[in-house]
């Protein structure tokens, strides 16, 4: 349905106004309050489980959160405003499915991340930004707390935390497979926020850059130590 791409602007793909989008964020926040607090605690638990080697349960919990956001944010709410939202929901569901699949199939030590590298440190930073930094953006920008976007409730912080957790929990091809959808969502959302003139679009751009660095580092061949 799309031809002659040069005639399109980003705004042509965003079929709503800033007022409507941020009202959606607020309404979702109101609907699920006070689930925000246990959701943040759950995010912290996923990171802790990952850092302490319990990768399988961490992956399953992250998959549950991604599936919840896919249904309750993308498919039930965002898709009302943007017909493409349903595809974003399916993509989040597919990522959740992949996480569960990775737990069910091979032994965990073959695919989980090793401790002590830079990549998990980047993951930890991203998870901290998504869990604790992102909810502060709205109040610091002069909006009410109900506008605050939270992991497990709204898509943007969930995607940032998912990237962080993927960097902590996974490596190799599986890391890329799990990271691709949150990374794409962060790109789409950064463009959306920029078009809607939201100053905090740069937070997502920074998250993309950090995650990109983590993914590249995670793909580099391991150094062999001399015997």
């Amino acid at each position: 349905m799309i031809d002659d791409w040069s005639t399109y602007a980003v705004a042509d793909f965003i079929p709503f106004t800033a007022e409507v989008y941020f009202r959606l964020i607020e309404r979702i926040g109101e609907r699920f309050w006070p689930l925000h607090l246990p959701a943040i605690a759950l995010g912290g638990a996923i990171v802790w489980l990952g850092r302490t080697g319990r990768t399988g349960i961490a992956c399953v919990l992250l998959a549950m959160v991604l599936a919840w956001v896919a249904v309750n944010f993308h498919i039930r709410e965002y898709a009302e405003l943007n017909w493409a939202g349903i595809w974003a929901g399916y993509a989040f569901l597919a990522t959740a499915g992949l996480l569960v699949l990775f737990v069910l199939l091979p032994p965990a030590r073959q695919w989980t991340a090793s401790a002590g590298s830079i990549r998990p440190a980047i993951g930890l930073l991203l998870a901290a930004v998504g869990l604790f930094g992102y909810p502060l953006i709205a109040p610091l920008s002069g909006h009410g707390w109900m506008r605050a976007e939270t992991f497990g409730i709204h898509a943007d912080p969930t995607a940032v935390v998912a990237l962080g957790c993927a960097l902590i929990l996974l490596r190799g091809l599986r890391l890329w497979l799990v990271a691709i959808v949150p990374l794409l969502w962060c790109m789409i959302s950064a463009l959306t926020l920029h078009t809607l003139e939201a100053a905090w679009a740069w937070v997502l751009v920074a998250a993309i850059a950090l995650a990109g660095a983590g993914l590249i580092i995670g793909s580099l061949p391991r150094r062999h130590t001399a015997r």
Partner: protein, 309 residues
């Protein structure tokens, strides 16, 4: 009686002569003051200012915003508005229109325009039927093929539906200058009532081929994106006052007046469809359909003025 100087009197005489030279019914004022132009294929006259819904009416199931948009629509009809245009591409806009029309008791004067937007060329009837349910109306006044998507099978079916009375008029749409060659071929060879395209004081590509062809083929023309996605009027309002000569020459009341009158005063244009989320902006848009219109010479001056900014 207001005093008229020699220049003003001369202009009045020239304007009178120009209007008398136009085909009967080309431009006429509704009782409310809103100017109307005829649809060439039927002679039915519709108000020159309609309403688009891209972005502005896509508010989802947010009741507070739905009620706010209902007020915008109410203002539209209060000023004698007619054409309301939507598309399945615009998210929840159709549902919001259905809600607002129900709240307003389905006002008389509505000229409901929708679009078929699917690659499935066999789904035309199904799509139209779903849209009728969404809006709560039947039949649509105008059903268009959005951006020429699968236009051959859709057009064939829409022509059949028009013959059956399931839609009153049919047409095709494009925007931002896309696929004009194919658009022109459809206009030249197919039996359609309307075309919808982008035309504004800063986007005038259609003046060379498509507008003359529409006039020649007797096709009504709807101008979308009259404010070039919005920044045009926002920028003008923020930086400039309308020129004094525009106030004197055609009683220009503001930039909405300036930009919309430029569009609807083109002889081939039938209707412009600005969209807004604000009652006040709707009022400004609708006032542009009233009062004197710029003539060809003034339209050139308007272009020069905007280009010089």
């Amino acid at each position: 009686m207001p005093h008229l100087d020699r220049r003003q009197m001369l202009k009045l005489i020239v304007a009178g002569a120009a209007v008398s030279a136009l085909p009967a019914g080309w431009l006429s004022a509704a009782p409310e003051g809103m100017l109307k132009k005829p649809i060439p294929s039927s002679g039915e006259r519709i108000p020159v200012i309609g309403m688009g819904t891209w972005k502005s009416f896509n508010v989802g199931n947010d009741r507070q915003l739905r009620l706010a948009r209902t007020e915008v629509l109410e203002e539209f009809f209060r000023h004698g508005g007619g054409m309301v245009d939507c598309s399945p591409m615009y998210g929840s806009s159709g549902e919001v229109l259905g809600f607002a029309l129900e709240q307003l008791g389905h006002p008389e004067g509505l000229f409901a325009a929708e679009k078929v937007w699917t690659e499935d060329g066999t789904a035309t009837r199904k799509v139209v039927s779903e849209l009728e349910s969404t809006w709560g109306i039947q039949p649509f006044d105008l059903m268009q093929i959005h951006n020429l998507v699968a236009w051959q099978p859709h057009l064939e079916m829409l022509q059949q539906m028009k013959a059956e009375g399931a839609v009153r008029y049919i047409g095709i749409t494009t925007s931002h200058g896309r696929r004009h060659d194919e658009f022109e071929r459809v206009m030249a060879n197919e039996d359609i009532d309307f075309v919808q395209l982008t035309y504004s004081i800063t986007s005038r590509e259609v003046e060379t081929r498509l507008l003359p062809l529409a006039a020649e083929r007797g096709i009504a023309v709807i101008a979308n994106m009259p404010y070039d996605r919005g920044p045009l009027i926002k920028g003008l309002k923020a930086r400039e006052q309308v020129p004094e000569w525009a106030v004197q020459e055609f009683d220009c009341k503001g930039w909405a007046d300036f930009l919309l009158k430029f569009i609807v005063s083109h002889p081939a244009l039938t209707c412009a469809i600005p969209s807004t989320t604000q009652v006040e902006h709707m009022r400004e848009n609708m006032l542009a359909g009233t009062g004197p219109m710029p003539d060809a010479e003034l339209r050139q001056r308007m272009i020069r003025h905007i280009e010089a900014l």
